[in-house]
């Protein structure tokens, strides 16, 4: 399998590049473009990213595997990103995790049907902890009951 940016994507990248002093800064925008289009970042795409950002494939690999929002394999239809950092932890993220385990048979870094669970670092929404991000949407002030309802509505 090989990867290429589409013509439209390349035009958008060209536009973006005007904003940054160095091409290295395009790293995250480029990865977002790929993740959004393919629901993952295939390793075949590393070279295209490295070429534009003037970095190496090893460096791109580092960035992709550092951030939890980028995945090397296609994500399930519903990618549940449960915050495991301090504020959410204190406000009950453990109970949410238990619910996912017991009710939905979901374990961290695993897929089950349409659902996939990843434990992530602070989502920047500590004020409304505990929070869960599902695909691109944030769900705040959660309780196990609320989360259960949200997930049941999906299926």
């Amino acid at each position: 399998m090989s990867f290429e940016f589409t013509k439209e994507e390349l035009e958008y990248i060209e536009e973006l590049s005007q904003r940054y002093p160095s091409p290295k800064a395009l790293m995250l925008p480029l990865l977002w473009i790929i993740q959004n289009r393919l629901k993952h970042i295939p390793t075949e795409a590393f070279k295209a990213v490295a070429d534009i950002t003037k970095t190496s494939e090893a460096q791109v690999y580092g960035v992709v595997t550092f951030y939890t929002m980028f995945t090397l394999k296609p994500t399930a239809k519903y990618h549940i990103q449960l915050c495991k950092t301090l504020s959410c932890n204190l406000c009950g993220s453990k109970e949410l995790l238990n619910l996912l385990k017991e009710r939905f048979n979901l374990l961290p870094n695993q897929q089950n049907g349409d659902f996939q669970l990843t434990l992530v670092e602070c989502l920047g929404s500590c004020g409304t902890a505990p929070v869960v991000q599902i695909n691109n949407r944030l769900y705040e002030n959660l309780t196990p009951a609320k989360l259960q309802k949200i997930l049941e509505d999906f299926s």
């Binding site: 590393f46 494939e57 090893a58 791109v60 580092g62």
Partner: protein, 463 residues
């Protein structure tokens, strides 16, 4: 760094240094034992390991020395109880997931982590018995480098070598937190012709040379400074060898030795692995027409050959030391012989690059030129006597009248005399920038082998 000298104190002692000099560099260069991993002279500071903490007067918290610049009146303390505790804590963290497999680790004996634990370890039983994160122990990075993820302390020296020095960015840190590890890009291997330098750079046993792996414990090795003979660059190296009772000494590895004027901190992989030549295919006995003869017989044979031949050509290897070449020059005058040291056959365009590796793959070609030895190819007729001092060209010359002083065996039907290799001899070399360097004698063979100068002396007495 400015050229202004400033006064500052370390542990109460007043000192002078250039303003703006990196504090850790100063401390290390001046014999202070400051634990550190990520800082390296060739790579500079990265500030990621936090091991180099010192206390600085006026600062609330301990600071990393590698990110502190020396200035007037700076008051540094390197050995307070706080610093000691910090070092202990950092070591605890580094050992949290470390396999503590020193007994089977090649780096044991020269590992920073191990050394620091000797000084700052807590030595509490059970401390390291908690469930650890398991990772891979034998990842082949390519180019003879193997990686043990579990032993890695993530100082990034290896990553920075490819980022700052070779600029090829072949390694990266992947994943995060406890799962972080060093990796090449997926399905790729290292490419750099200098990759094995990261084995020298790695402060722990995470990067190993597949060539040296499981060959010898480092505490059985002795080290000697020397000069690589792989090309006219004359990179500075350390030869690590061991001697076992009643056996010839054996070389286990070459390592890069720092010399700012020549090779900086590094050497090429090919030069590094060229130690193998010392042990392969060596000539150890005096032979004449394929049968062994003794020393006396050999000396008289040489005398006769020289006596009956009018035309004598001497070939001197450009790998020989200056002083050895000088003895050959003297002797050739005495014999009225024609002396040559052709260089053409040592040329290898493919080998050269724009960093260290140079086209002439022989150590002292510039010494040969400085001594004005003829570097053209000699005419050899059927009446000519060829006296060969280990020159590469001699193996392609077909003549019956020949005397070969050689280190490595070649196809010859004449008189063959074993010659000490450059490791078994000493003296000076001149490199391509005209730098003259001394290479000490490192090894002695089980049965002593004569050097060029010793052979000439031995013969000189008899003719």
């Amino acid at each position: 760094m400015s050229s202004k000298m400033v006064e500052f104190t370390v542990n109460g002692k007043k000192l002078l240094a250039f303003e703006g000099l990196n504090l850790l560099k100063y401390l290390l260069d001046n014999g202070y034992n400051i634990p550190h991993y990520c800082y390296h002279d060739s790579l500079g500071a990265d500030g990621n390991c936090r091991m180099c903490m010192v206390e600085i007067k006026g600062k609330k918290r301990p600071q990393i020395a590698c990110d502190t610049l020396i200035k007037e009146g700076l008051e540094v303390n390197t050995n307070t109880p706080t610093i000691k505790r910090l070092r202990e804590e950092i070591l605890q963290m580094q050992l949290r997931n470390h396999p503590v497999d020193c007994p089977v680790c090649d780096k044991a004996g020269e590992c920073y982590l191990q050394n620091y634990y000797m000084d700052y370890g807590l030595y509490k039983e059970g401390k390291h018995k908690k469930q650890k994160i398991k990772k891979s122990k034998n990842i082949e990075f390519g180019r003879n480098v193997v990686y043990d993820e579990e032993r890695c302390i993530l100082c990034k020296r290896c990553v920075r070598f490819f980022a700052n020095i070779t600029k090829t960015n072949e390694l990266g840190v992947i994943k995060r937190a406890n799962h972080s590890t060093i990796s090449t890009a997926p399905n790729q291997k290292l490419q750099s012709q200098y990759a094995m330098n990261i084995v020298d750079l790695c402060p722990v046993g995470a990067l190993l040379s597949s060539d040296f792996k499981f060959k010898q414990r480092v505490w059985f090795l002795q080290s000697s400074p020397s000069i690589c003979h792989g090309c006219t660059k004359n990179c500075n190296i350390t030869i690590d060898y061991s001697s076992t009772k009643f056996q010839a000494e054996r070389i286990y590895r070459y390592k890069a030795r720092r010399n700012e004027d020549v090779n900086g901190y590094f050497i090429c992989d090919e030069g590094r692995l060229s130690y193998k030549e010392y042990h392969t295919n060596r000539v150890t006995q005096i032979e004449y027409k394929n049968s062994i003869i003794d020393f006396k017989e050999a000396i008289s044979k040489i005398g006769i050959e020289i006596f009956i031949h009018k035309d004598i050509v001497i070939l001197a290897s450009p790998n020989l030391y200056i002083e050895e070449l000088e003895s050959i020059i003297k002797w050739s005058k005495k014999l009225n012989a024609r002396l040559y040291s052709p260089l053409e056959c040592y040329k290898d365009k493919e080998f050269a690059d724009n960093w260290l590796k140079e086209e002439l793959r022989v150590a002292n070609a510039y010494g040969v030129m400085a001594l004005e030895i003829d570097t053209s190819t000699p005419d050899i007729s059927s009446d000519t006597l060829l006296i060969n001092f280990d020159h590469k060209l001699a193996q392609d010359i077909n003549t019956l009248h020949r005397i070969d002083f050689i280190t490595h065996s070649i196809n010859s039907q004449g008189l063959i005399l074993p010659l000490a290799s450059w490791v078994q001899s000493s003296r000076h070399l001149i490199n391509s920038s005209g730098i003259k360097q001394y290479a000490p004698k490192t090894l002695v063979a089980n049965k002593p082998i004569l050097t060029v100068t010793e052979w000439i002396e031995a013969i000189g007495g008899d003719i």
